[in-house]
Amino acid sequence: MAARILVERFSFRYGPDLPRALADVSLDVPPGSCCAILGPTGAGKTTLLHALVGILGRHHPDSVHSGAMRIGKRAFTPLPRDVMFPEVGLVLQDPYVQLSGVRDTVVDEVLFTLENLGIATEDAQTRVEMILRELGIDQLASRPPTTLSGGETQRLALATMLIAEPQALLLDEPTSALDTAATGRLQQIVKSLHGRATVVITDTHVEFSLPLADQIVVLHQGKVLFAGTPRDFILRMDRFEDVLPVHGWWEVLNRFAQSSADQSQAADLLGKALAEP
């Protein structure tokens, strides 16, 4: 069952004398929906995901934080201090550090997740094969994980999370090493999770997330600059030209506006064009 993610006025410093990595961040992601957190590097996106999955509280005991957090029925003050997997699954930005390094094949690497959780069942192998197929890496099933390309490794890291069927799935810049075909396939996978898992994606670009997200949050220097629907974001994206690569999209929106009744209709046209496969 998908979990609601609620973050209330969460602030975080890695140490007492360090600046705030996150400042008064609030977020409400309804169960089964998808939220995209957009922002430049250093905005605090990864810090927020690490807070949600529990590794921030666990690895930074000297940190200073305030606020509140809720994931599903569990409330935290302010953040989880133990790793939340498998309720919450996180695919790291750098997929190489996510793999175990002790398994010889792609299939075994994914099975390793279930073995660690003590939930390996008789049909596990079939489920692994199905997920690899969904991700378009089934032909690599018997390859050693260390021989995969960057994009293939990223998909394998995602498979190790999906196999545990998390209630919330956090994807940290999932497309940074993917080709256009793999990116399209990942979009389909995230769409298919709608209703089944709550998904939070971080991204430095807009192209992948806009057609998927129910909600867009723009984070910059630890603060929320914007929170709203993708449509509202499209209409205001010129405000974020310094922090996001939206210039080209703004140009396209204005070109649509030339043949539309108003900017609002142009935003609908752009949203529609983005959603096309």
Binding site: L140, G150, A177, D179, G248, A273
Partner: protein, 250 residues
Amino acid sequence: MTIEFRNVHFAYEPTVPVLSDISFDLGTGNFLLILGQNGAGKSTLLKLLNGILKPTGGSILVAGCDTAMNSTASLARHICITFQNPADQLFASTVRREIEFAPRNLKRPNAAKLVEEALSLCELEAAAPQHPYDLPLAQRKVLTVASAVASGSPFLAFDEPSAGLSQLERRLLDKMITSLRANGRGLLVVSHDLELFLPYASSVLLLRQGMLTFLGKPEQLLKEKMILEGAGLRLPTLMRLKKDLGMGLL
């Protein structure tokens, strides 16, 4: 000065070809954009350039040196590459030492100047005393490019240099590429980021399952939709929209 690939073949295991019959030339001052699906052999091609991998067939000449007969250390005088994952590359205790490594080891007479120029071009002056692993991933990627730039080598090859970079570093990369091209460096870039790199490319090399399916000008690639689709790729949505709306892409 040129890079010459002559009917190059490569396989990690004898029965599984990774690259088959690849031929191309690249001179200094030019920019070759290497495209292909994940697993098409792009990163392998880069590792062949500086002799980390040796061709299993054909030959590669870099500035007249056969990569099969020369070590990576000696080829570094002519070509430096960066890896997709900065962790595969960075090892020094500070950003400055990382950047100093190549020009010092290559005994460049103007090593100090090359280091300062790379620090300045890549806007890493303030980070110079920091440990590379204390930098965010995006800055670590910029650092890998900076250490290649400081080598003074005429050819530079970058593997997915813009992956994971945000607007700020993309603008920086834009500036860096412009400057490197103006200085007559030969650049080979593996990337999925057509929007950023296609306008710079003097030619594009397209791989599909280890085979060269296209080698030509970016204009031709954009004109014929089938070329990209034939390699299992497609234009990013923004470029597709711009094209449909008659807006300039290059």
